[in-house]
Symmetry: D2
Subunit: 475 residues, 4 copies
């Protein structure tokens, strides 16, 4: 029997279902054996006292993406993927964003150019459909789905991105027919515009009025609406970045009625509140994202939703804008009205340590649930499973080796993104990924990335749901 490429000895490992102790043998980038006392490897690592988890799958992050205005996403695929890897993530799914009036296929090609030669870990693309023209719906999108771009995001707000209800129905109908997965940013655009104008007329332009311009009812309404549109079409959807109790109520209601409505939430809804937008004058801008963080009660509701299964996916929604930068949060200096401050928070590197420490460490969720939310489910829902998201024979050897007891005080200098702040500055967590492997190759060691940019592969996604005939309208 031949030698393995690599054997990780004495792993205390977990999947979405199981926790077990064994050696892990890797050859040709894949896990080839799990066992006690496995044969030798050309390379060996000892994981005694460590936790070996599937590398995280971050299904919601923005790298090198168009923003539709002057602001600039700070991370490209190099810094973004390095930051992800250093946080225990081995797969990212950023967005390829169509510009209204332009080809979706061209957008995909352009984003491939941006990724090529840069990523240190594997990546897939979600599409952002902003202009479901006849050309897009009739030709480009079906072809792209066949080519492995099987999920797309729909915005219900932002002028440059949003679709109206009819366009959403068209896109969902295509998702149903071709088996793709639709992700929804659910906020009511008209309400936000109306409130924003009212706030500005009242001279309320400081950063924290951002939260007042997008109250929970605005998110709840859009959530109910898109659930209704999906019910009409009879197609699964996933509501992204759910912020609190009101939207959760709608999703739970839909799930109880048997509708296949999935939910995603993010660290900002567990660890920040709207109060954070008020702190330190303009510093509150650092915590501006959409939907905005809510309050302590909503944080509790989000934890409860993670525990009870309302949420399937926990992502970062990493949207990296620099603070001291005229192309970032400081777009117009401290005179900027909240309307002009780019929406988004960095977090691709802190996602897993925050949830591990406060979730697993403090007994709120089990370790298997952690793996399910951060790796297995996003891989499944977006068609990357079983290649990604688990520790099983045949899966890619994408592994994060955690020191579960290491205490780390988060500070921006520690992080590898290209942003000048972290909203979690000063938080202490317990547990950190020390060594990270991608397809059997060590990409992070001693907390630093040692991989060459460009080694990350593009991943074609399978269709996550069975393709079905176009829905009958009279059923």
């Amino acid at each position: 029997m031949s030698e393995f490429d690599l054997v990780i000895r004495n792993a205390h490992a977990a999947t979405a279902a199981d926790v077990f102790d064994c050696d892990i043998a890797i050859s040709n980038g894949r896990i080839v054996a799990l066992g006690k006392s496995l044969g030798s490897g050309r390379q060996e690592m000892d994981a005694t006292g460590k936790l070996v988890l599937p590398g995280g799958v971050d299904a919601h992050c923005h790298f090198d993406q168009e923003t539709g205005d002057d602001s600039v996403v700070a991370d490209d695929f190099r810094s973004g993927s390095i930051s992800a890897a250093c946080g225990g993530t081995t797969t990212v799914i950023p967005f390829a964003c169509q510009t209204k009036g332009h080809s979706l296929r061209e957008a995909v090609e352009e984003y491939h150019r941006r990724a090529t030669g840069k990523a240190v870990i594997d990546y897939a693309f979600h599409l952002i459909v902003t202009d479901p023209s006849e050309q897009v719906l009739g030709q480009e999108l079906p072809a792209l789905i066949r080519d492995g771009y099987t999920s797309f995001k729909i915005y219900m707000t932002y002028d440059a991105l949003k679709l109206n209800d009819r366009e959403i129905l068209d896109v969902l109908s295509l998702a149903r027919r071709d088996g793709a997965m639709a992700m929804i940013h659910a906020e009511n655009s008209d309400c936000i515009a109306w409130l924003t104008e009212k706030l500005e007329l009242a001279g309320k332009t400081a950063p924290h009025y951002h939260a007042d311009s997008r109250p929970a009812v605005v998110e709840r309404e859009a959530t109910h609406r898109v659930i209704s549109l999906a019910e009409l079409v009879d197609v699964p959807i996933l509501i992204v970045h759910v912020s609190g109790a009101d939207a959760i109520e709608q999703i739970r209601w839909a799930q109880a009625r048997g509708l296949r409505v999935y939910g995603e939430t993010c660290p900002q809804y567990l660890f920040l509140t709207a109060e954070d937008l008020k702190l330190n004058g303009f510093e509150g801008a650092k915590c501006i994202c959409s939907p905005p963080p809510r309050d302590k009660a909503s944080q509790a509701a989000v934890w409860e939703g993670l525990q009870s299964g309302v949420f399937q996916v926990f992502s970062s929604d990493h949207a990296p804008f620099r603070f001291n930068d005229p192309k970032g949060k400081m777009v117009n200096g401290t005179d900027a009205t909240f309307r002009n401050i780019p929406n988004g928070i960095p977090g691709v590197e802190t996602r897993l340590p925050l949830l591990f420490s406060e979730g697993v460490g403090k007994g709120r969720i089990e370790l298997t649930k952690f793996v399910e939310l951060t790796a297995a489910n996003p891989a499944r829902i977006y068609g990357l499973y079983p290649r990604k998201g688990t520790i099983a024979v045949g899966a890619d050897a994408d592994l994060a080796i955690w020191d579960p007891d290491r205490e780390v005080t988060i500070t921006n200098s520690l992080l590898h993104h290209d942003v000048d702040y972290t909203p979690y500055e000063g938080m202490t967590v317990r547990g950190w990924p020390e060594t990270v492997l991608s397809r059997g190759e060590v990409v992070v060691a001693n907390g630093g990335c040692i991989a060459s940019p460009g080694r990350g592969d593009f991943l074609k996604c399978e269709c996550p749901t069975p393709a079905r005939p176009r829905p009958s309208v009279s059923a």
Copy 2:
């Protein structure tokens, strides 16, 4: 002590709260005394064995109204008000409908011209706001509210009528500030258009596909949406013509959360189903209205909603289109696709007998609840109370004297509207209004109208809800 103008002897009378036996004395068009053995009247009537109820207030009927296409509402204020009176109704509140791009004030003046000299009973106007321009919101509407037009209807569907969410917020905001009441036609326009196109592409154009083009989820979505918009503005609203269980669930949910959301339903949702749109080939067109009638389970849900207080108002939504008429249901003959068949059903005369017979007569609702739903509540909610809607000293002597035992088989020849059919043809009811008084004057006797067109007065409505400062956006 001087003589009364009229004394009705031995009345068995009911209000929204009470059932009592007494004489009713009337002078100068008003009720001036209720009592045992009241003094004499210049005119006297004996109501022994009869039921004396407040004349009905029909808060939802369309008379001589623009339809935005070639079809024509068959009833003008003469035939419409006569039909109403013969059905026991003494107050109607039809609509003055703005045309997009035109003045709302001018629309009101035009509808006054249409009503003047024709109505046999008193009437007020709801406004239909289709174009909330700066001129309308800033000047016309506030002035009209001050002039006694204190309620307006907002459409969420129909291209010629609908407002978008932002316009709805503007109009609701004005309603809040000035104390007016907004009535909402809640159906999702985009969904209807999308489904209609799909049905037509599939060749499904027969009348009954109308129901498939507007399924319950389409109404439920819009109901949740407008509840959310009203919650944002913090203003009461009334959802009109609620058709079944799904929309009821949303309204009940809002009410349980303490929101002031009122509900109206109509006879068609108690007595028709979508199956009726399938009957007898094109005859199904007779039952086309929006939202469409649903199914038996929804009928039960609507009854339950009437009993338990989800609904405050029971109206006719009388929208009289002739069947055999190229300007009515037969717009293009029997080749018409459902899309072109005008939406609406006649019912101003049958509203009260149907609810009385099936509701009170069969023990589903109490007599006081009947009065509440059909007279007292619409008067209150639209600012006509206590002048209309009750039997109390000081109120207008608008009375309907019912024979509670009279059996009537409904047939169109019996009715007084200017429509060539009734959807309730052949139904037998028990209980019918025999004599009807408007301001103390007998307008219906022996089932026929004996009043002169034009005797009906225009009623200025009070503001139903307290005017309040424009809502703060940061509360």
Copy 3:
């Protein structure tokens, strides 16, 4: 036309549905006419600037009742009825309580002896069924219902009073067959006993641990249980003294499912909280009642339930125990454990002023809703309507003439009960009943009772719900 006995001029009057201005003419104890400029009366009163309301019906008060231990209800029918009258109430429905092992009929006769010659206003009796023996179910109770005792209370807790589920089914089944109304004290007896023992073992015996011994879940459970038992039997029930959000949720859920479940609440759940049991050492005992007052959020929920129609009845649950009295709250001096402190609070006189001031005066409920909750509905639900509970021709002239603007600071010396404290000491209310009439006779003038004990009549109650055949078990 002959003179009236009494005419009240210029009344601003209200019923459960209407507010109107008129004179009110009374003869032979009944309202015989309502009108403008009615003929003369042998006696006349001017109500200009006052409010004339139906006298209150207090459907839940304990006068001269057995308590099953050494404690003594302080008010007999004299002091109790005087206190009620002075608070604007003209009808009381205290309890005739069966002792286990004894005849229910004998209990009724005994309570008649206690009432006779003492009451200044009219009264009926609810029965308390504590021992549904064959004799009671087979003979006594059906006969008593025929004799005008048409409602009975069932306790789910208190050893001396409680019925088990099977006994409740038997009693509800009889209520269904004979058309009687069952009132339920819903708390889980076993839970209370278990918690009480645990608290005592932990040395937690101070008055405020009473609230810990009966948390909201204990009331919620029993509420759901008895709703289920009533659903099985298919009979209406009324849940008395509902304390907060948890029980409300169950009642609302039942009502939404179409079950006829009525709800009653009381002033203590609007104006007290569990914190009041902690104040001033043993003084907290003054606020001990069952279920205990909850928290501010529950107060808000109870207000919301009054507004939205979850509750039909607002009673006092007047259970008058003296504070400084070894047969009252001070049963064993300040060493008493909470278990031994009698459960109950005085409130028959403050019920209406508190709700009027905080409800009507502060815009939380309308005046008609006030009348509905405090007079019309209890009269209807317990079979005293239309004789009691409204201002209508033919009704008893039971009227309370309120000065809506009078400010009164509640202090025990002001009240007429035979208790040495009021839990509302020091609260200032706006609005007070100045003159009260019972069957046309002034019983309260200038805030003092001028009626002779014994003038109050016993009232036979009608069956509030239609008698129906014993429920089929296989339906």
Copy 4:
């Protein structure tokens, strides 16, 4: 590297999270390696084309158990465990049932005597606590929990078994302190007794009246009640054999409020209805179990509950009574009233094939969900994980090798229990376990059991939930 005891080649295997292809190596009864091209085994099996699943864990089955009357459970540990094994189950958890007035420890010893030398697969015991005396609560139960009997069942009905609410609180309180798991049979005993008597008085004694004697509301009430008791104590519970929509609504409501309430359902609630109790005269007795099967809508609700996560466990509730046997269903011949017919249905062997065929095969649930419900979750919840319930390195080699395409028509002659019927006679399923291994030993081959009675080991269970201090009563 030494040889493995056994290698299963080319397995297509599944856990609760993963589906993967590999060889499975077994030594000393445990899985020691999973991998591609593993080294050789002394024994080898080829699983090409088969499905290798964790052996089922049937957490609810009755073997050789006291019934409290004359009836006799037909299966002892030999026939019962053989039947289980032949159906793909490798672990059973029958009950050791205390007799009221007797020692629980003695009961356990007696059931060990019954199991010893008979079982062919491993087994643990749930306790049935029928008499929580001071001795039992203070000494026996804590010691038994320490000894590996960490779950117990509480009955809310059956005179010989039921606990009252106070006893339930005591037992739940102990479960909380010591970390045990309580299983609840939730039906309201009083309601059942009352309905049964009513039915018998009406001469309604045929088998199908069993369902009328235990309608859904009876189960719903007890479900809400025990949820409340557990909420009071703050302890997880598991509701066993949930039959339909009403009880599901309560469990879902509790879960949404963050309570740790688990649910179990059984094949009879997916495949039978109350109608089956009516078929073929007395043959309906074959389908008598408690709670009874409901209707088609409830079957759909149970499927939905399995899909959406309301249920964690799918068990058989195998309660084997013979049909043609005076100690079985035929207790008094065909004259037996439903009251005397023993409650229970055989199903330990058909549990997995039914769910596999109708659930996995027809696309209602995924294969991983099948493993989770039937093996992983019961192992976890009852403290047998990770030894049982998964395919992972270190786990017992309890494996069922299924032919996923084999069609089997269920007929009693095919089954290995000692009962003379199956309620699923004639149903055709697709998928059957062909070979079953227990701790690496083939116990079923070619559909027949080849194991020696007595080879099954008793399993001590871990505490499934953390032990916690006795609950504070004032928290």
